[in-house]
């Protein structure tokens, strides 16, 4: 018997829905960059967002992280409405992201980048830092320890004291993911993590992604063009085209959808 008062944040198979986006729209001038996009991502899932260039994928990320405010529609993390909140607040509520064009803190060290991500997880007020009260020293040691643990996971520990801008490209991408993970997110948004990587680096990246899923049980939404990566690790897909949903469902069926093939390859 259908339960009419069904909880909207529980999927049909009984799993919790971590991210629910309802009818997200955003308009720039007369252009509808994202038009009625709906997402529901279950806990622990690896969800792919794909589509041709200019389909509005990154705009969806920007909506979900508060960079843009949606013209209409709402989105929820674990049932909490985050629509219209500022980027920093959304991050603290549990959504972290990486960027298509890497955005590291170039003049800070690798360890310090991660420590910025750790944010306020270890309490120490401005006052305590300015006047070097005991808690400052305790907090600093703790920050360093936590950052090093995380860097170990990403095989970046040996670079801890290098400036982030001096890292090679592939390691910069990994550091960005490490920094995002440092904010202790429920949902991780990865914007073209394999862009510009060679096949070896892509393989290594796929291993890292699988590893952090196992280790932290995190839910991931990722944008990608590399079809090998998408078909290799994504469980569910949404395909965007011209800002609207073209197809959605499990990876294999979506990738065989004639509409999707048409959008990618043409007639």
């Amino acid at each position: 018997m259908a339960d009419l008062k069904k909880n909207p944040f529980v999927a049909e198979d009984g799993r919790e829905i971590v991210l629910k986006a309802d009818h997200l729209c955003i308009q720039f001038g007369g252009l509808k960059a994202v038009d009625d996009v709906n997402l529901s991502i279950r806990r622990g899932e690896l969800y792919g967002l794909i589509g041709p260039n200019g389909a509005g994928k990154t705009t969806v990320f920007n909506l979900l992280t508060g960079v843009y405010k949606p013209t209409s529609g709402r989105f929820f993390l674990c049932g909490k409405d985050l629509t219209g909140k500022a980027p920093a607040e959304i991050n603290r509520c549990g959504i972290a992201r990486t960027f298509q064009n890497i955005r590291l803190f170039g003049n800070l060290t690798v360890a310090e980048n991660v420590m910025v991500g750790l944010g306020n997880q270890i309490p120490c007020s401005l006052f305590e830092s300015m006047f070097r009260l005991p808690r400052h020293f305790k907090a600093e040691a703790e920050y360093r320890k936590k950052a090093m643990e995380l860097l170990e996971v990403f095989h970046l520990a040996e670079y801890a004291d290098h400036l982030a801008q001096n890292l090679p490209y592939g390691k910069q991408r990994k550091l960005e993911i490490a920094r995002a993970m440092a904010t202790n997110p429920t949902l991780l948004l990865l914007d073209e993590p394999a862009a510009g990587m060679n096949p070896n680096e892509t393989q290594e990246l796929m291993d890292v992604i699988s590893f952090i899923r196992q280790r932290f049980g995190i839910t991931i939404l990722l944008i990608e063009h590399d079809m090998r990566l998408v078909s290799g690790i994504c469980e569910q897909l949404t395909v965007l085209n011209f800002g609207t949903e073209l197809a959605k469902g499990d990876t294999a069926s979506v990738l065989n959808d004639p509409n999707v093939i048409k959008a990618y390859i043409g007639e």
Binding site: T58, N62, V67, F99
Partner: protein, 291 residues
């Protein structure tokens, strides 16, 4: 009638601001930098006129000499100080421009001393009277020159090949380069035009008040930059609008006894108010950083 004459004076000094602001705004639009030394180019033009007047004696010859010299100076500054920094952080470029400004001011003081020079040959006195309203000839000249400059510049940017290349460079320098636009040449031409306008503005300023010192261009330069920002920096109509607006506000503020001493504060407050409401100025385009 007081208000009307304040308005006309405001239009005139606003015209001068607008001509200087055009130099700031074009350089900003095309080279993406704040040329802090632009005001001091006016001052160099003033001293060029001073020297030419001593040697040859004719104001128009002096103006021509100043224009030529300012163009050479502007292009040289761009080549030596700014071009090496293309692609560097905006902060570095701005600080260099501040350095150039100081350099010009102190050079002028070393060469010409700190006591002001009077260029009475340039002064245009007298005026016309319409009923109770009297308008100086210098005011009329400024208004006429401003109008001509605006029309010519707008036509140049819109219809000439160089002008269109300028628009292309300001939209996207790399794309323009790929389309075969010589961006370095376009930027140099922009500095040349801006510097020529600075010389003209210097001439207009000295027509009204013929006192010349090494800091003559500093405050008008800052005010004109303020005007360019109010109008929306990078926008040519914006520079005109901002310049006129600032000139009128200044003149009206001067004419109100209670406000007169606070005129600078009033002008700068307008800048802050406009930017708080429209962070890119009145006619400026919002440039969102792409994420």
């Amino acid at each position: 009638m007081d208000f009307l004459s304040a308005l006309i004076n405001g239009l005139s000094s606003g015209g001068t601001y607008a001509i200087i602001a055009l130099g700031y705004t074009m350089v900003y639009g095309i080279a993406k930098m704040l040329n802090f030394a632009h005001g001091d180019v006016i001052m160099v033009g003033g001293y060029t006129m001073f020297l030419t007047l001593m040697a040859l004696g004719h104001p128009l010859v002096a103006l021509a000499a100043a224009t030529v010299f300012c163009v050479i100076l502007g292009v040289t500054i761009e080549r030596l100080a700014y071009r090496p920094l293309r692609g560097a952080s905006p902060l570095a470029v701005l600080i260099t421009a501040i350095g150039v400004s100081f350099l010009l001011q102190s050079l002028a003081q070393i060469i010409f001393g700190s006591s002001p020079k009077m260029l009475v040959q340039l002064q245009i006195s007298g005026g016309i009277t319409l009923g109770a309203l009297s308008i100086d000839y210098s005011t009329l000249l400024t208004l006429a020159v401003t109008a001509v400059v605006m029309v010519v510049l707008s036509l140049f940017v819109k219809y000439s090949k160089t002008g269109r290349a300028m628009v292309a460079v300001s939209e996207d320098r790399d794309a323009a380069l790929l389309m075969g636009v010589n961006t370095n040449a376009i930027i140099a031409i922009t500095f040349a035009i801006g510097s020529a306008l600075a010389a003209i503005a210097g001439y207009l300023m000295l027509c009204k008040a013929p006192s010349l010192s090494n800091t003559m261009g500093a405050m008008p330069g800052i005010k004109a930059f303020t005007a360019a920002v109010i109008g929306g920096i990078g926008s040519i109509p914006g520079a005109m609008l901002g310049g006129i607006l600032l000139g009128v506000v200044e003149s009206i503020s001067y004419s109100v006894p209670a406000l007169a001493p606070f005129t600078d504060a009033v002008e700068f407050s307008i800048l802050i108010l406009v930017l708080l409401v429209r962070p890119s100025g009145i006619l400026g385009k919002m440039r969102r950083e792409k994420v």
